[in-house]
Symmetry: D2
Subunit: 350 residues, 4 copies
């Protein structure tokens, strides 16, 4: 934009979260020490940028694609902010709620069914209609072996059986790095579960609530999801098994606009809970698709540089903004992470 002047030359430094191409930035471990700028300064900055953007875009509609990417990126942060708020309230000894409303039991979950798929060559990845992140491209063919996918998410009630059967004490169920994590962090239940005598409570944005066995289990690490699947005589699906099964599925589900802010029990028959409720761990490492090309410049740092040491999750969760998720959408987290709203669905060889 001709003649644009930056609001404050330090802000580029201050608000650069991780983009190497944009230049140096404040060291992440020291962010907690920054006490300013104030909310007023930030609002002024935001308005200043917004006004300049409106002028700029009126002149340069060709840059709307970058703005669209920015909006989808912002939606990711909205989801992550809710996860952060949940976490920070949960570790507060006062255990405050984000909002207050009555919590109702959700009934019982339907019996899980195994839904079969034949061997075949299938096309996966984004088909090019509508927005997609670069990591969903290019669309390409994969050969899948016969498999059966669970009709719904694993429930908290099923997870209680895993605990009762000594799941957290049985090294043979765990990946080696997972077993190390169990011992280092003394995990004996998913994050936010707290034993209360014979009962369990979980922490949610509505504050502590009794554990509902019909709810999907959530806030498990990949390691826990993987160990549970092994205990259940099954495995996690690959990201392509998940996507093949989900093709054509209704993209509606328990997402942010429903206002639940918590995963809900499945209901009805057939393949359910694909979209919303909890992100679903897959057995696929987060890798580039054949022919993947990151964009040029800082935007190119958006996805590609994180394609190592992480696992793919699919399907969105109860914090995901409306219109943000697709069946080709690839989310990713490190295997030991638990603060994101992640659960699992079982799979097995047919």
């Amino acid at each position: 934009l001709d003649g644009y002047e930056v609001f404050d030359p330090m802000f580029g430094y201050l608000f650069n979260s991780y983009y190497e191409a944009v230049g140096v930035r404040h060291p992440r471990p020291k962010r907690g020490l920054i006490s300013r700028p104030s909310v007023n300064d930030i609002s002024m900055y935001r308005n200043y940028v917004d006004e300049a953007m409106l002028v700029y875009l009126a002149d340069s509609p060709a840059r709307l694609d970058l703005v669209e990417l920015g909006l989808h990126h912002e939606q990711q942060h909205q989801e992550l902010l809710l996860m952060d708020i949940k976490h920070v309230l949960s570790v507060n000894p006062l255990r405050p709620a984000y909002r207050n409303r009555p919590i109702l039991p959700t009934g019982s979950a339907p019996t899980m069914e195994w839904i079969g798929h034949e061997r075949g060559v299938q096309t996966v990845g984004h088909n090019g209609h509508g927005f997609g992140f670069d990591n969903e491209f290019p669309s390409h063919d994969v050969l899948s072996q016969p498999f059966e996918l669970g009709s719904r998410l694993v429930t908290a009630g099923e997870w209680l059986e895993f605990i009762a059967d000594g799941g957290y004490d049985s090294a043979e169920l765990w990946l080696s790095d997972g077993w190390n994590a169990v011992q280092r962090h003394e995990w004996d239940a998913p994050l936010y579960w707290r034993r209360d005598g014979d009962d369990w409570e979980v922490f949610s944005l509505d504050g502590p609530r009794p554990l509902d066995p019909a709810d999907p289990v959530c806030h498990t690490s990949f390691y826990e999801a993987d160990a549970y699947a092994r205990w259940a005589g099954a495995r996690l699906p690959t990201e392509f098994e998940w996507e093949i099964a989900a093709a054509g599925a209704d993209a509606a589900g328990n997402l942010l606009e429903g206002g639940e802010l918590h995963p809900l029990s499945a209901s009805g028959g057939g393949l359910t809970q694909l979209i919303g409720d909890t992100w679903e761990w897959t057995s696929s490492s987060y890798s580039p698709y054949p022919g993947y090309e990151p964009a040029a410049g800082a935007v190119g740092e958006y996805n590609g540089k994180f394609m190592i040491n992480q696992q793919v999750l699919r399907g969105g969760c109860a914090f995901t903004p409306p219109g943000h998720v697709r069946t080709t959408y690839r989310n990713f987290f490190f295997p030991p992470m638990r603060w994101q709203m992640s659960g699992l669905r079982l799979c097995r060889d047919a």
Copy 2:
């Protein structure tokens, strides 16, 4: 107080900083994760306690001693809060000022003189008139060898000579633990000094300012103060040498109420700057006086349990509240710490 009800049963847990006798408390490394209670809740809590205290004290004047101790403790926190604010603003890349006012050069410091003291048995410690912390008691006799004490604090200009002479690169000047600290933290100047081409600036509550060579050096660790003294062919005084020399000194100085919020150049002759400007490192480890008895209960954790691994500092600083400091007052910090407003005065054997 009969019938008193606690404001919130969690607050005792939440606001217990380190008192083992008061019960469990929130783990210190996790304090940064607590986002509430709000300022409003805290105000209500404060008023609630204040009102109850007024009723209680009207009935029980005998407990005024504990309130007096609490007030002196609060004064310590006021001083520490200013040190914390200075630190947190200093690490902010925007380098914001706490307040804005013009900074004037202070002229040149008077020549340092050596003021001699004979060998002798002297009484040190608090004489029992007025308030004193338990660590100032009991008053007792010590035998001191002949010594000479510097008439003023070491200046920033003198410290520049130490730097220019390779002080931070000369292992032989340093205690072994100090040399490790130099290398681990890559110290090459006191905290808050920043090289700006050929000049230096220092950070203060008035924001960055040019280094004034006449000002006392401050924000040095014990290790740096000790190394400087060795380089200067001198040593740090013991806490008793300092106290003996300070006996009868005027308790006025550059303290909080003067509003400088920064140490000032010495002026005039004789022994100056004993009170205020900067806390002065001594060579004395923080130990109990012969016959020392901590009080019973939680108040007993106030001083005694910290009497290891720390060094005594004397004299107050430009952040110290009026009426808070005395010549028998014993402050203490760990040897590598630099965020407190600490400087030094030289001493040597006579």
Copy 3:
């Protein structure tokens, strides 16, 4: 074996490296503190076990498969021992050699050619003839896209160009975790490279030697191999691309029995250096094959539990014992590791 008595009941504890199923074991970080048993005790123990094994196997030929697995496992340790010896000698300031013999330059490497492969469904994994580790099973079909594989390994000379072009200073070439590793460890060359004025020397079991530009580069991490490939406008092959290209390749190469103990320059045309010289990083995360089943008991901990956070390497190296490696053989290391003899071969989409 009826009536067998254990040599020393503590030895099961002492020599259990990581098998959870075998019971508790000495904590790994504290192994360095163990000073005994002596070499004599170990020899007696070894002979005692050997004798009992011979009796046992004469009676139970059915257990020979477990012994065969043990022998292949031992071969892995022989290779790792040479890598450890190389490392420990390299960090010794005396830089001692494992053996002494003259080092001869190896001439120049042939020009790299791109060898093309069509899209197609191919069978990968072990075909069941001869020994294979469980992670090579089951054999299964994969669909591969058209690709071109480099005819030889990347050379040290080519790596010098990467360094000269600022490869270690260009964040945009690196995965995010890789760039962190570069900065944390201050990497500016592969492990064992040392700048000597304008020249470079590398450390080998023959001691320090001048860097030979025709030799394959080795002791790179996955992060470095990945960054190099990006810089070269190419990528690493998947493990299946490598295996498809290697099918039918001669399994001979620069392995342990040749006595070089160092990777050698390629020679001749066509696809070379597949077996031996250096292990070759692939872009494939170490994951189970579809239908993978670990064995029961402690042997089941051999491979499966490590299938996370690691990358597959193929082809063996100059330390690999004769008869140990196959084109279906899957080695694996964590992405930042460099002490193993690992290099790379380029690949690109056709």
Copy 4:
């Protein structure tokens, strides 16, 4: 020595443990990775140096003082080697003994008596007859308050009462840093004590042995010694109280040449166990004496640079070589250390 050639120019680097003045040296945390030189090389090196030293000293008797210092330094290492051997054998799961010989109970310890001392000015420090380390100089006067010193060391049986009374669970008995150490390291007894049902065993160079209640307690940290003294209604002596009481004491005791390699029960009346058995923690921080001057050059790094963060111990132990210890001898360790053979004697104000 004219014409002397160094045996190997790398050895100065390799064997420089901590002397900054001698130049760079191998980083301490990486010492464990050095596998050579061999024992043969070391023997040759030793003989080479010995021969040159004999020639040199025949010519330069004036340097015998430096050799004498070296011999006393070597004696310190002999003592530390035994402590290290004890430690490394103790953490070996085989719990091997350094030697084997029958262990006999030692009877019961005599009742502890309080031996009084008047207030007075006393001379402490080395009187200049015979060898002394620089930290024992200069001899100087101190003013001591009236005190009473325990006639013998605290016994293991007395320590059992401290444990039974919840000593390790009572925060109010501990210095703050000590209480942190208790919790971080999960201390519940001195080092080398192991509960065996209702009984206790201790590890010694003779291997594990039943705890003998009459033996002095040893391998306690300063923090434990300090907490025990507080529990017992007493305190640790200052180093000068110890030295004043020990003046004129017989310098014989349970030292290395007696061959016990373990502290023994006290016997007889009066002040006992001053020399030998266990080093005795004092309440004195390790500081320079008034007028202390370190020697010039590398020898000057011997003591002075460690005079911070450590506590003085007095009296020698069962590992101390004959003729090495004196009543003016100042040993020093960091407060949390326990691997040295350290115990305690009580003191109180008269």
